[in-house]
């Protein structure tokens, strides 16, 4: 499959490892053969020592998947994916990486530098061999092992469960069985069903009744423990009155040879619970001609199952060649609230089709959508959103604001809102604007002494401010830098 090959080649070129130093990347021994079959699903399940029920669950999804076809309604174009040409399981640590940062692409390092990422973390991100193993020793010096330890102890004290989902399947099977697949059913859509059959790993979070999770939970803490791979599965449950804020992703571009990513994230909020889920995604977008790059087909959904519950999605999407992603909220409980704050930046040949769904089922449910799309280069950036009110959703309210900013004249911004109301008392508002960074706006900034890149960064940061404010503080600063970096060279 040419497209898959392109990614592999591209990533190898970035790593410069084998051709410059004459190494050949070892074919890992601990890897399932290419393609997908019941045997592969069994293999994955067995590798993870999963109980029988989990295997059955996966197989059922796999059989369902065989009957499904890829969705084509999104405004994205890419060569057809050959699902028999993919590896669905590989042991993560055995891949050979560069020996040290000296062997990593200087451009990638320059990006890390600009993002202000500490040296040690740069090694881990760039996949330098042994960087994660060395961590323990290095940590002892910098005393950050104790940070992680303290972090884990504090969670335990609060009764919060935060672990890998494979661990949860073994340790907390009742919880997993009760909730897994209840928000995104195995039959939901082509990619979600595929994920259900072959998911590699992901996070599991359980916050007990009345507990306010004492810290922001971040996959970042687990970054070097495990490469979660291409089919990530996350399940977060907030019991009555619980609160949790979860951060996913990383601002730094990560070494990744998997072209297809199809994650599933499920959130469940019971009465009076609140879940805040923030994502920063910066996967490899492809080269300057648009070759290679990650396809990101994600299903993220939150279920406001309890009355007065609240789920809030915040995302900053700058990476991937193709993004197909609609973090949604099912507002089932009365007076429940859903929020979606999004910044989607596309440059080069990137294609973004992203948005949200707010499904109002309960009474007096409220939702709010703030979407900021920024298109530069030859990219296409689409907002696609659904706001619907069920017959019983009296008093449902939605406010949607969808702004697009164009940089240059070869990119596209599209807004596709769907609004369906079956209840006469629902009030839905939709605002949308499309603007361009105007020449006179740029000239004004230049005349005051800003360079064109500083000017674009300033204007764009102003444009996305409403969303940046929703991010946890430590993420907000990084996200701002990341957006500027993603748009470098888009003017002039």
């Amino acid at each position: 499959m040419p497209a898959v090959q392109e990614t592999v080649d591209q990533v190898r070129r970035i790593d410069v490892d084998q051709y410059k130093y004459g190494f050949v990347t070892d074919i890992e021994s601990d890897r399932a053969p290419k393609g997908l079959s019941e045997d592969i699903v069994r293999y994955i399940s067995a590798k993870k020592n999963e109980p029988e029920w989990m295997l059955e669950w996966r197989l059922e999804a796999y059989r369902r998947w065989l009957t499904m076809t890829e969705p084509t309604w999104a405004r994205v174009h890419y060569p057809k994916i050959d699902f028999d040409d993919l590896y669905y399981y590989s042991a993560p640590k055995s891949t050979k990486g560069p020996k040290s940062l000296d062997e990593v692409d200087p451009e990638l390092l320059a990006t890390y530098e600009k993002l202000g990422i500490p040296l040690r973390e740069r090694e881990i991100l760039a996949g330098v061999e042994g960087a994660s193993d060395r961590r323990v020793a290095v940590d002892a010096v910098f005393d950050s092992v104790s940070v992680v330890t303290t972090f884990k102890e504090e969670l335990k004290k609060a009764g919060v469960i935060f672990c890998a989902i494979s661990e949860a399947i073994r340790e907390y099977p009742d919880l997993v069985r009760k909730y897994l697949g209840t928000v995104v059913p195995t039959t939901d859509n082509f990619y979600a069903t595929l994920n259900s059959a072959v998911f590699s790993d992901g996070s599991f979070v359980y916050v007990p009744e009345g507990v306010r999770c004492p810290m922001e939970l971040s996959t970042y803490f687990r970054i070097n423990e495990r490469n979660t791979g291409q089919f990530e599965r996350t399940l977060i449950i907030a019991e009555k009155g619980a609160y949790v804020s979860y951060l996913e992703g990383c601002t730094a571009p990560m070494r990744d040879e998997n072209q297809l990513h199809a994650a599933v994230v499920e959130l469940v909020a019971l009465d009076d619970a609140e879940i805040k889920y923030s994502t920063v995604q910066n996967w490899y977008p492809g080269d300057k001609d648009g070759k290679g790059g990650i396809y990101n087909f994600v299903t993220k959904r939150g279920d406001c199952r309890g009355d007065r519950s609240k789920i809030s999605w915040t995302q900053v999407e700058t990476g991937s060649a193709i993004t197909w992603k609609y973090p949604s909220c099912i507002l089932r409980g009365d007076e429940s609230q859903g929020e979606f704050y999004s910044i989607a930046v596309s440059n080069g040949y990137q294609q973004v089709d992203s948005g949200t769904k707010m499904i109002h089922l309960g009474k007096n449910t409220r939702s709010r959508i703030i979407s900021k799309g920024i298109a530069a280069g030859r990219s296409d950036n689409t907002y696609r959103g659904l706001v619907s009110a069920h017959r019983k959703a009296s008093g449902a309210r939605n406010f949607t604001n969808c702004d697009s900013l164009l940089i240059g004249d070869q990119c596209g911004a599209h807004t596709v809102p769907y609004i369906e109301s079956k209840n006469a008392s629902a009030v839905f508002e939709h605002e949308a604007t499309t603007s361009k960074i105007a020449d006179d706006q740029l000239f004004y900034c230049l005349q005051r002494g800003l360079t064109s890149e500083e000017a674009v960064a300033l204007i764009v940061n102003g444009f996305v401010k409403d969303v940046i404010q929703q991010l946890p503080m430590e993420f907000a600063v990084e996200a701002q830098k990341l957006i500027s970096i993603s748009l470098e060279g888009s003017v002039g």
Binding site: Q447, L458, N461, G462
Partner: protein
């Protein structure tokens, strides 16, 4: 280069702040500046008056280095240095400031943030250290008070929802903070009521200094009652067609531009 310098230097041997020689500029096929000659000595305030379409605003954009104009002939010496090829942001850092006729809005960017970004960008370009936050705040406070710019205005997004008067005061505030060597005021009086005109003019007058020159571009004489120029130039059909003292402005006010429009076209 030596020859050019000697031309730019005046009789007393001082280098002129601004010396424009035979400047021709076009947009597409249309020539707008058709041989502008203009000298502004250091410390002087010169006014340029002229009918609509005479090239006044184009001259201000060309001096500030805006893209989209072809300079087909002539030179612009700033402090004795040729700047025709210099990018806009470098000209700004060298000390050229343009107060816009229509200041631009930047949604989501607080005025304060913009001021700091501009000041530090210029300092960086000149190889100076960035301002510390307390130093910056102190400078803004002093300058803002003089111009009746409130703290609330400084927190609002740049020029968004500002009244005409607020926008112009904000321009002069930027001028005060950036301390340019040459300030070009493009139709600063447009859209101002008489009180706002007074505030803005007082602000400009307070910035007159022996080491700073100003080029005041205006259609009407009334601004020049408040900002009294040393020299008045009349521009028509892309050239400076007459120069004189402040009394020239009064004459124009009385007789209009009709004579110049006819003469220049001939």
């Amino acid at each position: 280069m030596t020859a050019v310098r000697s031309v730019a230097a005046g009789m007393n041997g001082q280098i002129k702040m601004l010396s424009i020689k035979n400047l021709h500029a076009s947009v597409g096929d249309r020539e707008i500046l058709r041989g502008v000659n203009l000298e502004v000595p250091t410390g002087e305030v010169h006014a340029i008056m002229g009918p609509n379409g005479s090239g006044k605003s184009t001259l201000s954009y060309v001096l500030a280095g805006r893209d989209g104009y072809d300079i087909t002939d002539g030179s612009i010496l700033f402090g004795g240095e040729e700047i025709v090829e210099t990018p806009a942001e470098e000209r700004a850092a060298k000390g050229i400031f343009l107060a816009f006729q229509y200041p631009l809005e930047i949604p989501g960017v607080a005025t304060m943030t913009f001021l700091k970004a501009a000041m530090n960008a210029q300092r960086k370009a000149r190889g100076e250290a960035e301002l510390t936050t307390p130093d910056f705040m102190r400078r803004v406070k002093v300058a803002a008070e003089k111009l009746n710019v409130t703290q609330e205005m400084l927190r609002r997004p740049l020029n968004v929802g500002f009244s005409g008067g607020e926008k112009k005061r904000n321009e002069i505030l930027q001028m005060a903070l950036l301390e340019p060597k040459l300030a070009i005021l493009d139709e600063t009086d447009s859209g101002l009521d008489i009180d706002a005109l007074k505030t803005v003019s007082d602000g400009v007058n307070a910035l007159r200094a022996p080491d700073r020159s100003m080029l005041v571009i205006t259609h009407y004489q009334r601004l020049l009652d408040h900002i009294v120029p040393d020299v008045v130039h009349v521009m028509a059909a892309g050239r400076i067609v007459r120069s004189g003292g402040p009394e020239l402005a009064l004459e124009l006010e009385a007789n209009g531009y009709a004579d110049y429009v006819g003469a220049a076209a001939a």
